[in-house]
């Protein structure tokens, strides 16, 4: 068996609004339009990522919240209806997906060896969280690639952002070791926004874009600062500033997905491709791809 590898990493935010506005057959509500820049960015990112022919998508989702350790889906196949408890009028999605249980078990074992608490979720009645479903749909709406879904253990962030970051770095490193040892060709998805302060009301027509803007200017500046660091390949600086970013931009990075993904990618020092940035009920969302192959091509051309 050849050594596995991480083909790419994607910051893949999961606002259900993006799925809603796309009107896929799996989702019950219908929309007129909305959040096109982000959706078009996802389309570009999707083409780029799927061209790498990954065998598995590994997604870390803030909406599967756990406290005792990092949980991973451990059942081969799931199908069901995902209704977003916060935006049920936008997201009632009929999903059917396959899980790479062997890889999930390997990640859980690698995490255990790194002295992290990990657990396989073996209950077949389990409803897969909408953060996982939305991000995976937006990257691969055909659902023809198995996934590994990892829960968000925020407990260590409650002790302090640095403690949480340390935990997620170790989980990311364990994930990478498991991918390499199982010979998988994987793409990793951090299913999270950047700044994350929401409006608490919405317009009568949810996709009325005349109401959409960032919650406040400070959030926007932080979001642009991070995107600029991504574009310059300064992931290490992102991690250095993560604690401030979490606090000052109310960032969803507090759920650990972004730190985990950067760790899986080996804290990349090459530029990321920012496919899109946009706001969804005030939050800042960016579709960003770290693709070493893409980067090496760019380097050759330059």
């Amino acid at each position: 068996m050849s050594k596995g590898s991480i083909l790419a990493g994607v910051l893949a935010p999961h606002p259900p609004h993006l799925v809603y506005a796309e009107n896929p057959p799996q989702n019950e509500p219908r929309a007129e339009c909305g959040w096109e820049v982000l959706r078009w960015g996802y389309e570009r990112c999707r083409r780029s990522v799927l061209a790498l022919d990954p065998e598995v998508l590994i997604v870390h989702s803030p909406h599967w919240k756990t406290v005792q350790g990092h949980h991973l889906l451990g059942v081969d196949h799931f199908e069901g209806l995902s209704v977003d408890p916060i935006f049920p009028h936008l997201f009632r999605y009929h999903y059917e997906l396959d899980v790479d249980v062997e890889l999930a078990e390997a990640i859980a074992e690698a995490a255990h060896e790194a002295r992290l608490v990990s657990k396989l979720m073996r209950n077949p009645d389990f409803r897969v969280d909408y953060g996982t479903i939305a991000a995976c749909h937006l990257i691969n709406p055909a659902w023809d690639i198995p996934i590994v879904a990892i829960s968000s253990n925020r407990a260590h962030f409650d002790f302090g952002n640095d403690a949480g970051q340390e935990e997620m770095l170790r989980l990311g490193e364990a994930t990478l070791r498991a991918v390499e040892s199982t010979g998988r060709r994987a793409v990793v998805l951090a299913s999270c926004s950047l700044s994350h302060r929401h409006f608490t009301v919405e317009p009568e027509i949810p996709e009325d874009m005349s109401h959409e803007h960032v919650y406040h200017h400070g959030q926007y500046l932080w979001d642009m600062h991070l995107l600029e660091l991504f574009r310059r390949g300064k992931s290490a600086q992102v991690l250095d500033e993560m604690s401030d970013f979490i606090e000052q931009a109310t960032s969803e990075a507090k759920d650990g997905s972004l730190t985990w993904m950067l760790a899986v990618l080996g804290i990349p020092d090459y530029p990321a491709e920012v496919h899109a940035y946009g706001n969804v009920i005030g939050t800042g969302n960016a579709v960003v791809e770290w693709n070493p192959v893409l980067h090496s091509h760019e380097a050759e051309e330059s």
Binding site: W64, K65, T66, V67, Q68, G69, H71, L81, V83, P85, I86, F87, P88, H89, R92, V117, K119, M121, R122, N123, D125, F126, R127, D129, S151, N153, A155, H156, D158, H198, F199, T200, V201, E202, P203, H211, H213, V214, Y215, H216, H217, G218, L221, W222, H225, E241, D244, F245, Q248, A249, T250, I281, G282
Partner: protein, 466 residues
């Protein structure tokens, strides 16, 4: 005194262990028995309706109220999936849900009903209803817990529930589903060795349970923020605010503690509060009484709230309405430099003190011994206006956006002419309205102070960098 339509309020925990594996731990067994006793108490009270608030159903867009008459699914808890599945079919009073929603809106809240097949009813609600109302004999209502809501919004939500109960002509029992301290163990423990995760949390929990056992709901409501800060309370202990708003914000209840036990490290209490027939005592409220929510719910209008600045020159709290400008002289009391409301910015009275040193440009009007001093009104007037400019810019506005100025002079005969000339240098092109009065003295040794109202201009601070 007529009998209250609200027969009692209950506080119960929402984690699934007492439902699914009560035998695994002595603490969970005791909690299950406490639930059983609470169920018997509710059956004795014979209400027409169970009204629930669950901290495990979180919402962002205001509050959501379940309106599906019979939501059904198989619940698997995201954390405790290995404990098993919980098939449920609940009985919801959909008419009451609509009435509750309307009552909430009348009180200024953003609220809506939800009725979708497959909607994920939260673990807390399912556990509470399975254990307190296992055969669905009593129709129920469930409302969400808004993650951004604070005391005022949650109190008003409770009052809206009361409005709806009174309008319905039904009797009700309120059930707040919430832990006390909410610090779970981050590593697995032996169930038989469950305990509160810290001694400090346990001490706070016991204090709360004791006070609630004495029927003093409002006392706990008033200390909820401190409890949260000290013991990591479940959703800031909002459930107590909701319960207090619903039950009338008094301490005149008969409290009954069925049990208090650890639940995977968190504090779990099952207790009830029954209204007495005593007239409610008049309480001294530490915070303003609130009947209608007047919060920041207009964010969709006018292009959103003005930009708070995070720069070293001007810091703002995360409440975008309040401005504390670090580059302006410190306020001499408990008030911010400015506050935004309805497209306007209201500045607190501003004098000429120098930021940082508090020195008065042009000299103070009296010395440390209170002796009157000569002073330069021109220097003081310029300093006032520059301080106002600083606060306005920290507020995302400009001096050019000033609409109205009230000027206070301690010696109008001596100072008006110079003051008026300097004022004209800055304001003649702006066209703000102005009122000038003479007063005896100001709180600091200054001769002039301005009170300003400005428009919230579009030119936000440009010096903000992460």
């Amino acid at each position: 005194m007529s009998e209250s339509p609200l027969r009692a309020g209950f506080l119960v925990p929402g984690r699934p262990h007492p439902l699914l594996v009560p035998e695994a731990s002595p603490a969970w067994t005791r909690l299950r028995r406490a639930f059983d006793a609470a169920r018997e108490e509710i059956q004795r009270l014979d209400p027409d309706l169970l009204v629930l608030y669950s901290t495990q159903w979180t919402s962002i867009l205001g509050h959501q109220i379940q309106a599906d008459p019979s939501p059904r699914w198989t619940l698997v808890d995201p954390e405790w999936h290995e404990l098993g599945s919980v098939p449920y079919e609940l009985r919801i009073d959909a008419d009451f849900a609509e009435s509750y929603c309307e009552a909430a809106r009348r009180r200024g809240l953003h609220a809506r009903t939800v009725a979708y097949a497959g909607f994920p009813v939260d673990t807390g609600s399912v556990v509470a209803l399975k254990l307190l109302n296992p055969d669905n004999a009593i129709p129920a209502s469930i409302v969400s817990c808004n993650v951004y809501a604070d005391r005022a919004e949650t109190l008003v939500l409770g009052k809206a529930a009361r409005d709806a109960i009174e309008a319905s002509g039904k009797t009700a029992v309120a059930v707040a589903v919430s832990a006390l301290s909410n610090r779970m163990f981050t590593r697995p423990i032996e169930p038989s060795e469950d305990r509160i995760s810290s001694v400090k949390d346990d001490e706070w929990n016991r204090k709360i349970v004791e006070i609630l056992g004495e029927g003093r709901l409002e006392d706990v409501s008033h200390h909820a923020r401190e409890v949260h800060a000290q013991a990591n309370a479940d959703q800031k202990l909002k459930a107590i605010w909701w319960l207090a708003g619903l039950m009338g914000q008094t301490n005149d209840y008969r409290g009954r503690v069925f049990d208090y036990q650890p639940l995977v490290g968190t504090g779990a209490a099952v207790l009830s509060l029954t209204p007495t027939l005593r007239p409610a005592a008049v309480l001294e409220f530490d915070e303003s009484e609130v009947e209608r929510f007047e919060g920041d719910r207009e964010v969709l209008a006018g292009g959103g709230p003005p930009s708070p600045s995070l720069s070293p020159e001007a810091t703002s709290t995360w409440d975008p309405a309040v401005v504390h400008a670090a580059a302006a002289p410190r306020p001499v009391g408990a008030f911010p430099h400015a506050r935004r409301a309805g497209g306007l910015i209201f500045l607190s009275g501003m004098g000429p003190r120098t930021p940082g040193s508090d020195e008065v440009p042009g000299g103070p009007v009296w010395d440390r011994e209170g002796r009157v001093q000569d002073y330069d009104i021109e220097a003081q007037t310029r300093a006032v206006i520059e301080n106002i400019r600083t606060v306005l810019e920290a507020s995302g506005s400009r001096l050019e956006d000033v609409l109205d100025v009230q000027c206070f002079l301690i010696d109008i005969e001596r100072d008006f002419e110079v003051f008026n000339r300097v004022y004209a240098e800055y304001f003649s092109e702006i066209g703000a309205t102005r009122t000038t009065v003479e007063i005896d003295r100001l709180p600091t040794p200054i001769a002039v102070e301005f009170k300003v109202v400005a428009a919230a201009a579009s030119s936000g601070p440009q010096n903000l960098r992460p």
